[in-house]
Symmetry: C2
Subunit: 486 residues, 2 copies
Amino acid sequence: MSTASEPTTTGSGIALVDRLRAELGHSAVITDTDVTDSYSRDMMPLAPYGTPLAVVMPTDTEGVQATVRACAAAGVPIVPRGAGSGLTGAANAIDGCVVLVLTKMNEIVEIDAANRLAVVQPGVVNLDFRDAVAKNGLFYPPDPSSYDWCTIGGNLATNAGGLCCVKYGVTTDAVLGLKVVLADGSLLKTGRRTVKGVAGYDLTKLFIGSEGTLGVITEATVSLKPLPQAPGTLVAAFNDTAAAGDAVARVVKEGLVPSLMEIMDKASIDAAETYLKTDIGAGSGCEALLLCQSDSGGEVARRELTAIEQICTDAGADMTYVTDDLAEGNMLLQARRVVLTALETYGTWLTDDVSVPRTRIAELISGCARIADEVGLRIAVVGHAGDGNMHPTIVYDPSSVDESERAHKAFDDILDVGLSLGGTITGEHGVGKIKQEWLAREIGPVGMRVHRSIKQALDPENLFNPESMFSMFPTPASQLERSAGS
Amino acid sequence: MSTASEPTTTGSGIALVDRLRAELGHSAVITDTDVTDSYSRDMMPLAPYGTPLAVVMPTDTEGVQATVRACAAAGVPIVPRGAGSGLTGAANAIDGCVVLVLTKMNEIVEIDAANRLAVVQPGVVNLDFRDAVAKNGLFYPPDPSSYDWCTIGGNLATNAGGLCCVKYGVTTDAVLGLKVVLADGSLLKTGRRTVKGVAGYDLTKLFIGSEGTLGVITEATVSLKPLPQAPGTLVAAFNDTAAAGDAVARVVKEGLVPSLMEIMDKASIDAAETYLKTDIGAGSGCEALLLCQSDSGGEVARRELTAIEQICTDAGADMTYVTDDLAEGNMLLQARRVVLTALETYGTWLTDDVSVPRTRIAELISGCARIADEVGLRIAVVGHAGDGNMHPTIVYDPSSVDESERAHKAFDDILDVGLSLGGTITGEHGVGKIKQEWLAREIGPVGMRVHRSIKQALDPENLFNPESMFSMFPTPASQLERSAGS
């Protein structure tokens, strides 16, 4: 791990900066370290980051192509990024790279209400895009927690999820086609504007979630849903985590599909209550809170929430409450939304991301409680219960080497528990620079070999985000060879 | 184009057959041409097909791995196939190949109702799988028209759609993970059992729809939906195709999502009425029929269908009829389901597959009527109106060279119209051996280059289905070089 410092710009680095300035304009290429530092890392405290040669901010696809061609010619790696809301260090700079910032490509190119689709550039903020399509009576479902500042490009690069996934799926489910700048600077168009289409390999979904390692997405055509009804809300409190997990499993088994189904454990509830200076009604013995919404509208939503309420009661809930008042519903959800902010009262948070079968949620939460005891740190679990995607969040003091080590251990131990429950090491945040060995463990040597062969096919010079997701040089021995040979 | 004939088995071919028999057992390897002929082609009359060296029918993943290793060692290409219901020749044999038939791998390995997922082998018939999960109150949506005999493996290879896609998506939307035998015989596991997961590239969706060119799928883990309610049905007759197209566009724009929305043009209605020896109530001036279902249940379904009925009336429908009686609904749908069979009364059918934006359906239908006039052949258009996926079906006499040529011209002209309307050359059937030049036209040289680089990365010896979807040797000149060199 390195920290930000003055770059040692070589002669070839200066030549590259000059070429980029000549082609994109002086103001699009930034080398002032006061500025470039702020583009050198995302929101994951554990991830290493380096010092970029320059930050480049193109305003159109041609600018991206020019940047890629110039960097390819100079042999300088490119780290693409959006707003920097990521949680894996995937957008973190490496020493001497060009950070390619897409935030100035922030145009909503088209909203075609008749065909329920839109064309959007990567720099558009998720919430701005949602608001714009909503004005046309349409709905763009993916809603990561950072939706008020993350960009569509970052959402595409990480295949971002969010709270609505339980009913509406993740980013990849909403995308019809892409424009992608490849490693040789050529422009690939994938997919189409039609709802269905099987002409060739599904390249669209290959680039989505590839964390900027295969190309730079400069435009996306996305399908939109009808704008749903204002949701009704249910909250249910349990004095037993297993009972809450059981309620989730029963909701799934009964075929009920709420539009939101979140879970908070005791540590999350405590943090939210302290922060909000209010009793959120969970009661003193409350070990887990379920929050559900239905956006099916009127009588149907009421019926869905009543059915879920009955399941919660049968599973042993101490308290349930249903409202179809939107403002009250938002207030109830507030407890869920403030958890990370609330945890900052206690220290720095480090949020993990593990997805388990929906029948194993309670076991994951109890596993996290055990790990918290073992490492002696506060771990709060919040998560998208409806799809089994949990975010155990560790609170620690990063200025303490000992606490940092324990936090890192807890982070890994949580992944270990997730895998042992039949889960995956990342539900929606990605691999980035922090879970590479875990990716290898989850997908095995054949999976890694296929990843490397696809990377090699599309990016033979290892130009794009070369130290994210996986290394092209699998063993320490060959890494040494590479250093010696370069 | 070649036709079936006695194979000229070389010494190395005999050695391969001997090795396969030694490894898989004598009965798993068939060389009797009376039998192998029946595995040499699918349902697309235009596609070329050759004479296989042998048909191999493994019963497990290890058998597939042994077959792939033996063929790779012998340099003999493999054409994987299921039931042979395909409509592009993708499963057609090439001379001297091994046809790898997956129909004996037909076990439903697991149904996990609590997590709404199942694990299934490729040889399971779609309908058998649907029935099995339905017994657990669950629903596997993809329902290609051949669902009573096509297999899950073929559905995966082609990313098959069907009638339910308008509400439930296509095959790729239902798959969580795969087991795939790669070109070196190793076994790749993609994806996971959780609803969400972003660990690494989305290899699952790369293999789905790759038409057997990248590997052999030997198992799939699929997500299941709650079993929907028995559907209500609406039929609406229009004396103007444009009005029917307008009704479809308005349904989309209003945000209504029926569980089925099919369109039939006049030629289809006539064929169905003649075949069924009944007036299906469309009336004499009827130019287009819309058939819709809603499976949302009870009052909600009634409300949805009433809203669609109102839209149809506003758009100019001459007749509308709604029923919530399942048997009556099935009877009404019968007209749609018998069209291909009904067309056989007039000759051999050749069904095309083009997907257009949902606002352009009427233009596609009128384009097909114009083409029918130009080539002097009957073209009946049926299609999945709700997602713009149309199947113009040309009727001709294959024993007439002239009619065959005109049919082929019509087939191409329809694709041309589809592309000019912003559509794609295949909505759900695939490229196979009949739309290769059209694929190149739709995705362009950069797209083709990416396809070839991925194929090269995963199948460097061009072992899997080498003459389907695209050629690794793009120009005739290099093809000649290849022949000369081999």
